[in-house]
Amino acid sequence: MKHRWETTYITLNENRALPVSAVEEAWVAEAVRQAWPPVTPPADFVVALEQELLQEAARRQSIRQRFRQLAGFLGILGGGIFSLVGGMLLWRSWQQKEAEGTPRGNLAGVLAPAGSS
């Protein structure tokens, strides 16, 4: 059984406050703006920080470029090695089959008429 006091009621518009008018809102806004007038940062600080940031941006750009170049080089190198190793394995496999004398790859065995041996 559910007791009444277990239910939580949410009271809407608790203090029955009137909506804040646009005039009041504008007054608060104006008061705040007047209290916090814009502060201009020192010019030498702005210039020095800009130089620092541009140098940092250029450094990052250069690192990214070098990384891209390195990645490209490693990609080509890796692809080359992979092709070489793959080619060698295929050749070796073909050689093994050749040595075992399986009919595959041995045209003589395939073309010879049955019972001729």
């Binding site: 203090n15 406050a17 909506p19 804040v20 009041e24 809102e25 608060v28 806004a29 008061a31 705040v32 703006r33 007047q34 209290a35 916090w36 007038p37 814009p38 502060v39 201009t40 940062p41 020192p42 600080f45 702005v46 920080l49 800009e50 620092e52 940031l53 541009l54 940092e56 941006a57 250029a58 990052r60 750009q61």
Partner: protein, 184 residues
């Protein structure tokens, strides 16, 4: 410059340092202001501004155009500022020291004084608000960010930001009405 143009500039800045310089020049004053307001001193504001742009540069390639660039940048600034205050073991407080004198050209001297007192009181009340609400007020009225952008900065939903904003305004109005009734 429109949003599309800015996105083009961001895409360019991901590969071109000079384009990042253009983004920097566009936002450096606002980011500096934000940090200055929350720290109250130039040295910390400069340090945090520098860190904000260094971090933006580091993560710019991961930037995805979901919200706006300024919201993304202010989020970085906000997180760094929170870390800064956490490391120093105190809560960020928006500084209210630099209250500019209010001058009314047409009003009576007494009227000007009353407005100034009222504003000073309002600002005192704002300074007692929780940090998140102070930040919201600053982002809304000084940086003029939209609710969606503020939501991104604070890591909340847009609906939650709207609700928090109106609760804050209601609270401020209640306090100010109370003050007026005491004075009357």
């Amino acid at each position: 410059m429109g949003e599309g143009d800015e996105y083009a500039l961001i895409k360019q800045a991901q590969n071109d340092p000079q384009a990042f310089g253009e983004l920097y020049r566009r936002y450096v004053n606002r980011i500096y202001n934000y940090h200055y307001r929350h720290t109250g001193n130039r040295a910390d504001a400069e340090d945090l501004t520098s860190q904000t742009f260094q971090r933006a540069l580091r993560y710019l390639r991961k930037y995805r155009h979901r919200g706006t660039f300024q919201a993304w940048l202010f989020k970085i600034a906000h997180n760094l500022m929170a870390n800064h205050h956490r490391d120093r073991g105190r809560h960020p407080q928006v500084t209210m020291d630099a209250v500019a004198p209010l001058v009314t050209e047409k009003g009576q001297p007494g009227e000007a004084l009353s407005i100034r007192e009222e504003t000073a009181h309002l600002l005192h009340v704002i300074s007692t608000l929780p940090e998140e609400r102070q930040t919201l007020i600053g982002l809304k009225f000084v940086e003029e960010l939209s609710n969606a952008e503020i939501a991104e900065v604070l890591g909340r939903t847009e609906g939650a930001v709207k609700a928090l904003y109106y609760r804050t305004l209601h609270y401020l109005r209640e306090i100010m009405v109370e003050v007026e009734s005491h004075e009357a």
